[in-house]
Point group: C2
Chain length 210, copies 2
């Protein structure tokens, strides 16, 4: 059946736990995880090539000039981008590639790769999301208020995605995302080669049958 790899874009509400979900997803199943490039400094415990590809501004701009990103953006003072070569090499090998990326990047990906599957991780309901944004109760009201404003804005983005998967129980969420990717691989539109072969071979068999 479907031999070519699929591009899977995963976003979600801030604080919904998408980092952990993606980590478990690639641990449990056979997906290729794209690692973003950034100009921001590594934080303690972060490893180059695992958490990010850390680049200087000059290196990053050079990559932009040479069309080295499938999408890139600037946040605050730093650049973030998705390296093109890794993604295209993996897709060509027939591997499914996971991108964990924010919404603007996701929309750019969809324009360039209309077959990309866009998955948004959400909370069971608004109350649960609020509780997660409040964290352990150590943040001040101003920080939480800002997070709630951002979550409200993210509801507009949410409807741009193909699938909404709830992160209530993390293991269920991981398996649900895997189900979505599996199901996408069964789409008739992704299996033209299979249907063409089936038709051709059945015609041959039928004609030679005695």
């Amino acid at each position: 059946m479907n031999k070519s790899g699929m591009l899977i874009v995963i976003s979600g509400f801030s604080g919904v736990g998408k980092g952990t979900v993606v980590k478990k997803l690639v641990e449990r199943y056979d997906y290729s995880l794209s690692v973003s490039a950034t100009t921001r400094a590594p934080r303690p415990g972060e490893t180059d090539g695992v958490d990010y590809h850390f680049k200087t501004v000059k290196e990053f701009q050079n990559l932009i000039d040479y069309n080295g990103f499938i999408e890139w953006a600037q946040y605050v003072e730093n650049y973030y981008g998705t390296p093109k070569k890794f993604v295209e090499d993996e897709l060509a090998k027939g591997n499914n590639v996971i991108l964990e990326i924010e919404v603007q990047g996701a929309m750019h990906i969809k324009e360039q790769y209309p077959d990309a599957v866009l998955i948004f991780i959400t909370a069971p309901n608004a109350q649960t999301l609020k509780e997660r944004l409040e964290g352990r109760g150590t943040e001040d009201a101003k920080v939480i208020s800002k997070r709630l404003k951002r979550a409200f804005e993210e509801t507009d983005d949410m409807v741009q995605y193909d699938y909404l998967v709830v992160n209530d129980d993390i293991d269920v969420c991981v398996d649900d995302i895997h189900s979505v990717i599996q199901a996408e691989s069964f789409k008739t539109s992704r299996n033209a080669e299979y249907t063409d072969n089936m038709k051709f071979e059945l015609e041959v068999i039928r004609k030679t049958y005695n």
Copy 2:
């Protein structure tokens, strides 16, 4: 999330084992199976209301007149139809309804229920399908030749379906179909109520947050 039931239409190549797949699917998971009505005589071992709703021609025609079917067709001398009331009652209750039906019926369903999910069960390849159509080698060449012709014609129908699921191992096939149905329930387009609620509730929480 998605509260309304989905209509799942399952077809497949003759001889591909779709009857067994559907039987296992409704045994293993919580789906409502639609039972077709027919005017043909019960075969030994068939139970009214389980295998079919057996009807006289007069009863069947009366149901046609009263718009009692979501689709019906005549094959050879017999009528076959999908009773409307059962399907609509189950969908209203939020249950997912499985219809095992041939391709013409499936196309009629898709016209009336554009949200219906159409799944076609296929074989791993043409050679395997040929071997299944040959059966236990007791049929004569003419019968098998006729079956191969029909399979070839069915390849044109196959591409009308949303998903193609291979029946190689029956348990895998059943779980793959279940994955497809699960994934469909996560589609953003099926969850407008959830996204509207999320947006509304987050706005309320944000405004009242102090």
